[in-house]
Symmetry: C2
Subunit: 358 residues, 2 copies
């Protein structure tokens, strides 16, 4: 086996370079960032998990204005309805934060999380998005079959060998093996079984998944530059998915306060928390997480906790308060670059990887 940057994955996904952009829903993801990565030869991905169906359609249109290259759209496979157990205590705690931010206290009835998944996926299928990627589970039937018969490619994020095998059996074209270093939500399928997610480091996870699958594996988690790309290829991955590295890119929608926190952070700054969404996710520890932990209150289940904290995160974004934003980030933030165009990041990662393996 000889290392190459032109993996079979590139041909399969019709991209020049084996670099995927992670979804990064809820702010950082923009059509411009997605298009810039695709235009540079990688696979840009729109993080559409929290978007209204028609907003997704508009974003897809915008991406297509900006690039003729393939791109992906990422969704969360949400199964659960709202669960209101404990909501009184949660809202009482969140109201303290709301008071501090000067926003209205919430009535309990405000918390309803419409399950947009079926409408979201319908838009992706209608628009024939070249790549559909999912977190929290495999794209369910009949959507999987519909996607495949339309010639669309399906990518599943996984955090264990077992999840990777389930994804392959269900028909996924590739899996993203998400190591514990990764920022944002853990992709773990069953949070009831693994409340804080499966957290296997990328170095251990990737080869163990590669050994069991015949579809391509992309590595994710802690990969920030060409060294990480070259290392992932050495582990048997056919590509990488980068999120954190693009958070501070010129085209990302990352809030200025979030950007600043990222650039001031180091490898010890992040923690796994369910405080923002009810699902485990890695982000920079801030006032919201510390205060939540100090309260001793159990977060509501996803998506209810996420919906309950949304007004707080929105207000914090407007006020540019990093203490009350979800500052999702991986463990490699010392390697961030400030304001670099995404296309330049792709080129730099490629060039560095090439200098290592050639």
């Amino acid at each position: 086996m000889k290392l190459t940057l032109e993996t079979a994955l590139c041909e399969q996904f019709r991209i020049r370079y084996p670099i995927f952009l992670a979804g990064m829903a809820g702010g950082p993801s923009t059509p411009e960032l997605t298009a810039a990565v695709s235009e540079a030869g990688g696979l840009g991905t729109l993080g559409a998990a929290y978007m209204e169906p028609e907003a997704i359609r508009a974003a897809i249109l915008r991406i297509r204005e900006l690039t003729a290259s393939p791109f992906g759209v990422n969704l969360f496979v949400v199964r659960a309805d709202d669960d209101y157990t404990g909501i009184r205590d949660v809202q009482r705690e969140l109201d303290k934060v709301r008071d501090r931010l000067g926003i209205p206290r919430a009535a309990e009835s405000n918390v309803t999380s419409p399950n947009l998944f079926h409408q979201q996926i319908a838009v992706l299928l209608e628009e024939k998005v070249p790549v559909i990627s999912t977190a929290f589970g495999v794209l369910p039937e009949p959507y999987m079959s519909e996607a495949k018969s339309a010639g669309l490619l399906v990518v599943t994020m996984v955090t264990t060998v077992k999840e990777a095998q389930l994804a392959e059996q269900a028909g996924s074209d590739a899996v993203v093996a998400q190591g514990s270093e990764a920022g944002g939500h853990r992709g773990t399928f069953d949070i009831d079984e693994q409340p804080m997610g499966a957290n296997i480091g990328t170095m251990a996870l990737v080869p163990q998944i590669v050994d069991k699958l015949s579809i391509p594996v992309l590595a994710a988690g802690g990969i920030m530059d060409g060294r990480g790309l070259a290392a992932s290829l050495a582990l048997g991955a056919q590509g990488v998915q980068l999120g954190t590295r693009f958070l501070t890119a010129a085209e990302s929608g990352t809030n200025p306060a979030y950007r600043k926190a990222l650039l001031a952070s180091d490898e010890q700054s992040t923690v796994l928390t369910k405080a923002f969404s009810g699902r485990p996710a890695r982000g920079i520890e801030n006032a919201f997480i510390r205060e939540w932990n100090a309260s001793g209150i159990a977060p509501l289940a996803f998506p209810t906790q996420n919906t309950a904290t949304r007004d707080i995160r929105n207000a914090a974004a407007k006020q540019q308060l990093d203490g009350y934003l979800s500052l999702w980030a991986g463990q490699g933030t010392r390697m961030l670059t400030d304001g670099q165009p995404a296309g330049e990041i792709v080129a730099e990662v490629l060039e560095q990887a090439a200098s290592i393996i050639h």
Copy 2:
């Protein structure tokens, strides 16, 4: 930069291949395992942290009978004296296990942990052990100066960039960057500050340390084969330290029950626990850890908890009960090989890495 297996580290440590054996004190480490790795061209390391000074001397003698190649001895830098806060509750809980194993209940006065460190290091210096490696902190003065003026090489295990910088400033010749995937004790220096240790994945940790240091960095954590070695070199490491992969080697002293548990485990089997020693360590979750967690009792500080549980671990070893042994293991155990001679493991790792990078 072009990848090579003949890194500057090899010349510096006078070894053919950039593969160090991890210490693995308390059973798995044997003079035979150490010598086999050194004889095969790597750097064998005796895990001597729990050994009496004269037993270390005898083991060094034995290693030298078996190989003329350089080897290392690993110690824990122990600063703390016994702390008996909470010992009544701890012993009451441990007595339940003792009853089950049919061993005598312990009197509190049984728990004394003589600090052997000064005598242990004295033996290493007298015997001019080619490489002295430490976990839990940097080799303190005056030992560092004595080692260096005797021409001995000093290696420090680190888990953060800051620890790596401290190790370099103190005069270490190399650092082992221990990623969160690693089995056994976290090398984190200050457990008061970071009670469960710093847990940065290898993929993120290694390049961030490489960027800040001018001495060589070895990668550790989740590295099980030539793919891991090649990946580590791509990340900028000059070598790797492997522990888990050698646990099931022919020459290791790993208890048969422990061996069996390792070979039956997968990437999700391990947890971080302080239950056995009072310091965070990664091992396969077993009855002891589950029962300890269920008790809700805080472990004593290291080394007191370690001393308090010793009779239990020894009895479990004799009775070959995997439920009450400390089953230290990393997150890559699907890649274990059963009963392979250590020299063959070294050769296989090398060959696979060479096939990837050449």
